[in-house]
Symmetry: D2
Subunit: 312 residues, 4 copies
């Protein structure tokens, strides 16, 4: 923090063919509320991505893939900006659905859900997904699971890696190509999990819930520095933040994009300052929360920071 | 609405030196949640601004000027994109403060407010405003009010126009130059109001609360079409929307940027669909709400739409 | 604040025929998040209402009367717990509608607003109000306004008092009976305002926007202590809080019930701590914000505090 | 739904020594916004709990135990109102902490987290938990895990049952006594998980991530009817709702208490209508969402419904 009343608010003026980064910089000069936080998030994320000593964690919660945010995540993996990905099972389910050629569609939230049910359409706010996609998903998943060795034991990340090897695009595919681990602690809580349950009725493969912990913890213990970009809260946010808790270190960079609020006490909406009291985040960590819908804040941030890193 | 499951969600990929409008168009192809709504808002606002038969209303609520959004509003007036401005008293107070050379400053919301009080700093979330600004404000306002004719009666918009004539920049100044009316129904509820009360103790000028209504209503009755861009809710949103209620017509275009939620029943968070039941918005109006912080959504929208209209 | 880690969280157990106050006390012993805040709000409001040296302000924003909260407000006036009421025009409009025998109805927010429009029903989230009510409202208002003396000048509170004298129940009626002033700075921004505009086309009565300020300011200057119960934000919250700004004093008690959030910078969601930096609230004021829907928090608080004051 | 404009809004009046249920019934007669939803939630939950053919699921997300809501959950298990509990790992961690005699404490959210860190206090919004509790927790967990047979394989619910057998109070203890299963799909994502990782370094016990699925799915297939009370979203909400997806049936009763919002697209804030499009909830299910903080809505609901069922 600078001295109080040192840096004035600069009124924003939109300029000709303004790039996203130019606008984010103008928001930073205005510097107020979530617009100001977004600009600080760009600065912190840029610095984190430029810092070669930093292990970069990325948390993905909320139905982001059905909303078209999966492309950004894949690109970030491709360009080396994610070292460890932690996701909800739902995002990976929808990533697979797109990877096998099915699509999500523009819809509306102001509709008759019983009618949609009759039309065999599943709704995610204003995104529509036809039942048909799940037919293809089941076929694909059962085939892929069928390749696992009966009687073997496997970790969740190895299960996801196995799926990724069978896809030709998307997050899981790109993670395999770039050899980054994808963790999904609550994989049972998703269509992947339901498909696995179906599969487990005919073939016994044990998914060891804790098999991913040693490699993750080793990574945390050996990381010189750690940084976290958190899209949404839920399991990914907490799983990432708690991972440094057993080490003498903590996250030195942290950005969270969330629509939740702190006063309800839930971890999803908790401030990153709260995380300092636990030691999840270091005392001098650069950390900022941007409140808002990640379908706006993530693309704006990604465009601004990629402009700085790659296109500048 | 297109047919269900006709238009697929397109995953977003950030491209080289992407302009704000290019990113907003990519958000539109993703089409989901508030990112999708933001893209629709850009389309609707563009169409509204291009429509020469449409009278363009702009509602300004929330502490937007202290956050650097005043520059965008002034520019929109300057370029002819606002025909009628309705504002809270607070935004106009802060507009005057900047116009007379005082500044708002970057601060932090995580501070000791009693300490700030001792340091003579007033806080607006993470914006700081030194007490000193109000000393200059009082001096300026008393001088300006002192030019009013003792015993006269004046409308609120005329009072604001009089202030605007005494400033050299900002929203009120630009409104005077472009001859657009600024309405502020709750002017008493602001520092302008408190200054006026001070002034009224030494000089009697009557501010007629309803004197602005005839001109506004005439405007509404004669408007071929009407469009509304609503930043925040409060008095400006309702005052604009109710203005068409007495006419046989309604708003044909409406965009609202709000952080409020509909389920609390307040008008600030009410959906624009709700406004259709009242007839404030026409049955076939193009209308969209973007939930989020206007310090993000307004600059993004303004940059995208100005790129389309002026810089394309 | 007690010492850190002095007062343990007590798990809540529901007991037999628990009264509302008993439950609120249990929430206080749990003491966390908004449940804990609600219990503190009950303590502060109780103390404020018991304090005979305190002038009690009440702010009423949000569509509370259509939601059945008007009964609580009338009762609070009746029992002497409100000395000064500041309301939005909308709440007073709906208060008049109920007072003249029209009703609001249970509806649903998941409906077709265009269909409602055709059925001549106006929607307020999940409350329905038939157009018919506005026919009676217009008839009543024009009659009442017609009693005003042509060519006279009147304050907003006097205009509202005049209406209250013509009703037999509700907030305005009770305020007249208990001789408490009702302020409504943005009265133009409501159906009352639109009716007044209609009336003003045939008869000239000047409503002086600032005529209420001297009496209010006198009240503020002479108040030994001041307390504020704020339901919602908007004009009522700010108008109440700013009223003490010109005096050497500030509010010593403050409770706000709001669904807004602080990070958007708007005054409606601003914390009461922020108000300390301005001096609106005294440094040692007892103040608490309860985030949530006032259709839950207000009845719970009122039942708990009335149990303590009257039924204990 | 009744006919439009059939059931009028009844203004609320607080009465003498009003019980919680009496107040909730008054909120139901007002019937608007979340107050109205809360009253409908009480009706639906009452009916669900009275329905002996219904299997009762309970989802527990958000930091509810640190906030004193664990007592209500334990009591609901004790009185037979929960058949299947799905929880986050965090709630179970804090349940164990209280069960082994450590306490959470009243704190404040407006504090210096670095100072708290130095004072060895962990913050959960305005709840404080001394580091010391985790020392006892570690000791307890390692002892309890040490009783597991080296080389064995165990399900997550069996692991939790084993812990519950070693405690003398709290949710896990009561669940063991009442023989109800506790599911926690993301158990790795909690202090329980971190302790298990520590343990796994010295002793090999496999926790089979999917071992709980067959029993749960059997339960779902044999349930005549299913009902869900969902406190918060996250994994518990989705895991419960998806569990009926593979069966020809769906949930016939559903109540969710959430502070999230639907327009962000995340499942936590998704409406229960959206769940109808997926078939998670039956077309004619009685379902309602109450938006707000569960530290208010859960105690009010529990007190009202227990008054109806047990104390009436």
């Amino acid at each position: 923090m600078t001295q109080p009343c040192e840096m004035p608010v600069t009124q924003i003026h939109v300029s000709k063919k303004m790039t996203v980064n130019e606008l984010v910089k103008a928001m930073g000069k205005a510097g107020a509320y979530n617009g100001g936080s977004l600009a600080r998030a760009a600065d912190i994320w840029e610095q984190m991505l430029r810092d070669e000593e930093t292990t970069k964690f990325f948390g993905l919660a909320g139905a982001m893939v059905p909303a078209g945010m999966g492309g950004i995540v894949s690109d970030l993996i491709k360009t080396g900006h994610i070292d460890v990905l932690v996701s909800t099972g739902a995002n990976l389910t929808h990533d697979i659905i797109e990877a096998i050629g099915c699509r999500h569609f523009h819809g509306t939230a102001f509709c008759d859900d019983i009618e949609l049910r009759h039309d065999e359409i599943n709704r995610i706010y204003d995104v529509y997904l036809p039942d048909d996609a799940f037919v293809h998903f089941e076929e694909f998943m059962q085939k892929v699971f069928g390749q696992l060795g009966e009687g073997s034991t496997i970790s969740i990340s190895a299960l996801l890696e196995h799926i990724g090897k069978n896809t030709k695009s998307g997050i899981l595919h790109t993670a395999v190509k770039k050899k980054i681990p994808v963790y999904c602690p609550a994989v049972q809580d998703s269509m992947i999990g339901l498909q696995y349950w179906l599969f487990s009725q005919v073939c016994r493969v044990t998914v060891d819930a804790f098999a991913d912990m040693p490699a993750l913890m080793d990574r945390c213990f050996t990381a010189k520095k750690a940084g976290a970009m958190l899209v949404g809260g839920g399991v990914p946010k907490n799983f990432i933040l708690q991972s440094m808790l057993m080490t003498p270190n903590g996250f030195g960079y942290a950005v969270q994009l969330t629509g939740d609020r702190p006063d309800l006490g839930g971890l999803s909406g908790a401030t990153l300052d709260e995380a300092r009291s636990w030691g999840k985040i270091t005392e001098d960590a650069q950390a900022v929360t941007v409140y808002g819908d990640a379908t706006i804040t993530l693309p704006v941030l990604a465009a601004a920071v990629m402009e700085r890193l790659h296109h500048g």
